[in-house]
């Protein structure tokens, strides 16, 4: 909060004194705007870790700045413009809702590079987009869940029925089915990204109904703590949550933006920056699994084998044969789902006994 205020003040001061684009450019200035507080210990926290990686990698050659808790919409436009005027060379906008503001501001500042996370609009040559294939990690979790669960039923705390979440559920189930074709999943839609109390309630409801392993696509550590209370295993989300549940977390999908940020800041320094659309996965180092813990060695070995298959053999979790929930064939034997279809995914695969909310 304090930093936000200071950064805002700095931005305002730069405008007030008419400080034109930074004069002596011996340092490259990289700037970030986050949708949440960096203390969310989830999404924005991980982006901030990426900023810290950039600082550590480049040392004095780079100057960084960030604004946290920037609302999506008109405020984002102002934040971006302030950054643009304060001499940033590259600006990372890290939430889907910053998409249109980025396009607008990018049009006004053609010399500044804009990087937008999770979006798809690249209206100007100075806008690039990036995202991560988190569902690769969910496939690995599915394999682990099917091996660890005695009852063969997992509980899944979901946030909103958008493609990102639906593809995660499907990837999780495909992983589980590769071990146990009859594996079941019970899904609770919490309709929130972040509400510790409600997530805890959802976890309790699932456990009361007899699931013996849980996973989540919401951002708080509460479900893991509930699992710990009940002596059940579970998975972390977005960051390594092991210290909240040292005897419960099996692994966690960690969003590691550092390598990408370093690569792109380097490109700006070298003058080789170009527009692109990156959907990086495990092999790019963008999706990292937290250490496999609290599981027998053979399960760990299986998880590592799948991780290696995704990394080294370019294995795509959505590889046929895959049937949709209603039994129709989606992917034929050996067919790999095109990224475009995965990004628009709005259906369950076969074996999920739940109705997808619209």
């Amino acid at each position: 909060m304090k930093k936000l205020v200071m950064a805002l003040a700095a931005g305002a001061a730069a405008i007030a004194y008419g400080a034109a684009p930074a004069a002596a450019q011996d340092k490259t200035k990289a700037c970030w705007i986050y949708v949440g507080p960096i203390g969310d210990f989830g999404y924005s926290y991980q982006h901030h870790q990426g900023l810290l990686d950039v600082e550590e990698h480049f040392g004095d050659k780079v100057e960084t700045a960030y604004l946290e808790s920037v609302p999506e919409g008109a405020d984002a436009e102002r934040a971006l413009e302030r950054f643009a005027r304060s001499g940033c060379d590259i600006i990372f906008a890290t939430s889907f809702g910053f998409m249109d503001p980025v396009q607008k501001v990018a049009a006004k500042f053609p010399d500044i590079k804009f990087e937008h996370a999770t979006g798809f609009k690249r209206d100007h040559p100075n806008v690039a987009t990036f995202n991560s294939r988190f569902h690769e990690g969910r496939y690995v979790q599915g394999v682990i869940a099917a091996k660890m669960s005695e009852k063969g039923v997992a509980g899944y705390i979901a946030s909103f029925p958008i493609p990102e979440v639906v593809m995660g559920i499907n990837a999780f189930m495909l992983g589980a089915q590769s071990v146990n074709p009859d594996f079941q999943v019970k899904i609770v839609w919490a309709n929130t990204w972040f509400d510790a109390g409600k997530e805890a309630d959802a976890a309790k409801a699932l456990l009361d109904q007899g699931v013996d392993i849980i996973t989540q696509h919401t951002d708080s550590t509460a479900p893991l703590q509930v699992a710990a209370d009940r002596g059940i295993k579970g998975f972390g989300q977005a960051s390594d949550m092991i210290k909240f549940a040292p005897e419960t977390q099996l692994t966690s999908i960690v969003d590691d933006w550092g390598p990408y940020y370093i690569e792109r800041v380097q490109a700006v320094m070298d003058g080789t920056w170009e527009q692109q659309d990156v959907w990086g996965g495990m092999k790019d180092g963008h999706v990292v699994m937290a250490p496999y813990t609290n599981m027998p060695d053979d399960v760990k070995a299986a998880a590592e084998a799948i991780e290696a298959k995704i990394k080294d053999e370019n294995f795509n979790p959505f590889t046929g044969p895959v049937y949709k929930q209603d039994g129709t064939l989606w992917l034929e034997e050996g067919q790999v789902a095109p990224d475009g279809e995965v990004l628009r995914m709005n259906f369950y695969i076969k074996g999920i006994d739940d109705k997808l909310p619209n």
Partner: protein, 244 residues
């Protein structure tokens, strides 16, 4: 926990000063303090984010907790659970069976008469507001110590607002507040259970259910206008400015 009570009381004191002594608009002041509280807690709490919290261990009452079925629910809970029950008993006794409670109610029902009788209306209201704040602090402590043992910015996620509805729902009777609180709680947990069992109702609707239930109950109880009027403090929300 005691810190939470003190902070709750301190905030209430500020609220009391603004609304009672400076006679500011109560609704606007309440909203402003809510926002202030969120901001201040975010600033102070920054250091606690991402740390596993302290857990308040359940107080298991021997013998009674071994009772079949009810034993575990009633006698193996965190200390705050017992405090909440004791509070209801205490408040109910205070309001309706003591002289001080009578004084408090008279201040709420007709501050002019109370003033004429020599009761210090403003002082009584200060005490009531501070007590309310302390209880709200206690509720917050339950959330971060028992429910989800950790601290995150805005972890209450607006839960406190339901207390406003609860008071109207219970028509200002402590025992009905207790019943109402458990009913609201059951509805919000029930929707999650319904999803797991596989009741095919849109989850958004289920999420909204506690609030819809509140509205439905409010409509129902307000049908009998006279009954509602009897229980509602007549001077609710009306500022008191003593005539000089």
């Amino acid at each position: 926990m005691f810190a939470a009570v003190l902070v709750g009381a301190a905030f209430a004191l500020l609220f009391g000063f603004l609304t009672l002594s400076l006679v500011t608009n109560q609704v606007a002041t309440g909203l402003a303090l809510t926002l202030l509280g969120l901001g201040v807690s975010g600033m102070i709490g920054e250091a606690f984010i991402g740390l596993p919290g302290v857990r308040m261990t359940p107080l298991v009452i021997p013998v009674l907790s071994d009772l079949p079925v009810v034993g575990r629910f009633l006698f193996a809970q965190a200390p705050l659970f017992y405090i909440s029950i004791l509070l209801v008993i205490g408040v109910s006794y205070f309001l309706f069976s003591t002289r001080a409670g009578l004084t408090l109610r008279s201040v709420g029902d007709n501050h002019d008469s109370a003033h004429a009788l020599g009761i210090r209306v403003i002082a009584v209201r200060y005490a009531a507001v501070v007590f309310g704040g302390a209880c709200a602090g206690l509720a917050g402590a339950y959330l971060s110590l028992v429910y989800t043992p950790q601290w995150i910015e805005n972890m209450t996620a607006g839960r406190g607002w339901i207390a406003l509805a609860l008071v109207v729902f219970a028509s200002w009777r402590p025992w009905r507040v207790l019943a109402g609180a458990y009913l609201f709680g059951a509805v919000s947990i029930g929707q999650l259970h319904a999803q797991v069992i596989g009741v095919s109702v849109p989850s958004q609707f289920l999420s909204a259910l506690p609030y819809l239930a509140t509205i439905a109950v409010l409509v129902l109880i307000s049908r009998n206008r006279r009954l509602t009027m009897v229980n509602t403090p007549a001077c609710l929300g009306r500022p008191f400015v003593p005539a000089r």
